[in-house]
Symmetry: none
């Protein structure tokens, strides 16, 4: 069904704005409403009244999505078919420009005992600054053979990204992370003949890492999720859209890049994200705006901070609508209920507002109201098609 | 899942009536309700109160269906798997009895300048009478070689249907319609070796057309959507039903024929359609009744005319129920909101009424009420199975 959409796409001048409040969805408890139901959101409520609401399941029933899957779905890519591997997501997370043929892996700095056994898979969760220092040392000291280059990027705490670039590399390697402590890390083992050369390259790389970091607390690294960039049809081809993705966190800029959006530098926060929208309005057809603090607050179980992050977006809605978009969709990439302090499977409310959307009887924006909305219960991956339809970009199916 | 249904079908004496109000669905706006919500429909409301309601998505989320796709879905055939090409639909549109092996194409009479370039792809939208005159001339004058026959039928205005009948023909030909003006029509080009012979036959046909029509305003024809009849399992085999399709427009009679229904001559309108139902009641198990003006009025943006067309059907409901059907389903093949003046993707309300349907709390028939009904949100292609179940025609799955 999904594959029908690109075949029906045509051009239009009407603009699309997707506002993602990360981890927006919440759950009621016996003592509290959801964050969205408790937030004071006069502007979002007005959009709900003038438009149509619904809830979306992000991946499938009962499945708790990661951020990568949630955003791929909102961008209209089936998150099961277009699952991003850990390597590609790590690259997205540091906005690394992963290229075809590159092999990427998640790095965990770790601590080995004197016999080479893993005693801490996170090296005592070293601070990010320490991670940066170690990466710098390794970049300067490790020597690669032949034409192979390596890139080593800090993510956060003990986590990082390793990318190998060169001819004929393969990502068909087993993790070196043994997953438990008390044993030695696994060597990089090729899962196919084609990866045998790459296994040797990784082994020689790790031998040097072990020597160079010998005196550090984080005296080695574990590699997981060897991955390559899988071909993804970019927005411009798939939807005939000039798309821009604006976010204050590298991960979401990286995800935007993966689907071919133009990505400005990191914004300082939501207000600056909206400023970027206004400044670039004439140059794009589709805008993805990302608000991160809703998710972080939800993970911290902090109702008030999550509510404040929702209200911050609400206050800027008039500025967005003043630009005269063809359709605005406001939603989340998954639920992060403050009541649970983690991502959850719960359906995420969404509203769509625009001249060709339609109007239902829902007049406020929250989980309970959205469930009764005109969209009913949808899958996240189909929201993009509704936005295309609302901007007259989808032709009729069948004669 | 769909393929399970035919394997569970058994016979029953209980009768099925499907009432299709073409383009029934509407959308609310800030100033008006939907056509169905504004219509005075005491009988349909009573059926909703005594039965169960729901909404259906016709093809897929955000996809605006054509009439062919909408009806195939309501007849229980997956509209993606059973997509009808333009040629087969044109044949349906004039109720042409397309046979296996026939090659059908949509004809547009056009105007060429003296250098053979297309200057009007619709020949000034010649009146239907002119189209009839030109088809008659061509039928009398064009000579085919060998055993190939041709059929040329007027649709409306500048549009028509060409069918070639003979051994070894192939529809694997490119359109001759260049899609733009200012250039010459494309020759009929074979897309495969198998179609090479057919391409020559079409070329010789078109050479004669050009000579014969040289002095006319519509001095040539463009061909699009070469197509054959794809095998479709007929109603009688698929559902063990003797089925009758009654409509006042050729297109819907043609669609009924495609799935193997018996089709009486065009009716003059809804009242006569209901008369046909009553007259043929004893001879069939399944009746498809089609009301066209709901769609035409929606496309004209004429709320009052669409409402009147709905109310016209409502008034005849007591006559239909008096026949003691096992189940009656009332719905549309897609939405044609008067607010939008075109087909749209919006889910279509439906109600089902009958002894084995069940009852929900919905007590009126409109989009908002139906959304809360016992059927919830379904796909159009599954409604047929609910009608079979409601007439005790579906066995239990699994022991």
């Amino acid at each position: 069904m999904q594959d029908l959409i690109p075949s029906l796409v045509r051009k239009s001048d009407s603009k699309i704005v997707l506002v993602v409040l990360d981890g927006l969805g919440g759950v009621r408890t016996s003592s509290r409403g959801t964050e969205l139901s408790e937030a004071n959101t006069p502007n979002l409520d007005r959009m709900a009244a003038e438009g149509m609401s619904g809830v979306h399941t992000v991946v499938g029933p009962a499945i708790t999505p990661g951020s990568g899957a949630g955003h791929m779905a909102l961008f209209g890519y089936d998150p099961v078919k277009y699952l991003l591997g850990r390597g590609a997501l790590s690259a997205a997370g540091v906005a690394f420009d992963l290229r075809a043929g590159d092999v990427a892996a998640r790095v965990n700095f770790c601590t080995l005992d004197k016999d080479g056994r893993v005693i801490d898979r996170r090296a005592g969760r070293i601070p990010t600054e320490e991670n940066i220092r170690l990466c710098k040392i390794l970049r300067e000291s490790v020597k690669m053979e032949g034409d192979v280059e390596f890139f080593l990027e800090t993510e956060r705490d003990h986590r990082g990204l390793l990318v190998l670039r060169g001819m004929g590399l393969s990502a068909d390697l087993k993790d070196t992370d043994p997953g438990v402590i008390g044993i030695t890390p696994n060597p990089p083992i090729a899962r196919s003949n084609e990866a045998a050369g790459t296994a040797i390259i990784v082994e020689r790389f790790l031998d040097q890492v072990r020597l160079i970091l010998a005196e550090e607390q984080a005296n080695f690294m574990l590699l997981r999720g060897f991955d390559t960039l899988r071909p993804i049809e970019p927005f411009a081809l798939r939807y005939l859209l000039r798309a821009r993705g604006t976010a204050s966190y590298p991960m979401y800029r990286g995800l935007s890049k993966i689907v071919g959006m133009d990505v400005p530098p990191e914004t300082a926060g939501w207000e600056e994200t909206v400023e970027d929208l206004k400044a670039s309005w004439d140059d794009y057809d589709y805008f993805f705006l990302h608000q991160k603090p809703t998710d972080s607050a939800g993970e911290d179980g902090d109702y008030e901070r999550k509510i404040a992050a929702i209200e911050q977006v609400d206050r800027t809605i008039p500025e967005i609508l003043a630009l005269n978009p063809g359709v605005v969709c406001v939603t989340g990439d998954h639920s992060t209920p403050a009541a649970f302090m983690r991502h959850s499977w719960h359906p995420v409310p969404f509203l769509m507002w625009g001249e060709n959307v339609g109007v239902d009887l829902v007049d406020r924006f929250d989980e309970e109201a959205a469930r009764l909305g005109g969209f009913g219960h949808q899958y996240a991956k189909d929201l993009m098609a509704f936005m295309l339809a609302a901007t007259m970009r989808l032709g009729t199916y069948g004669a």
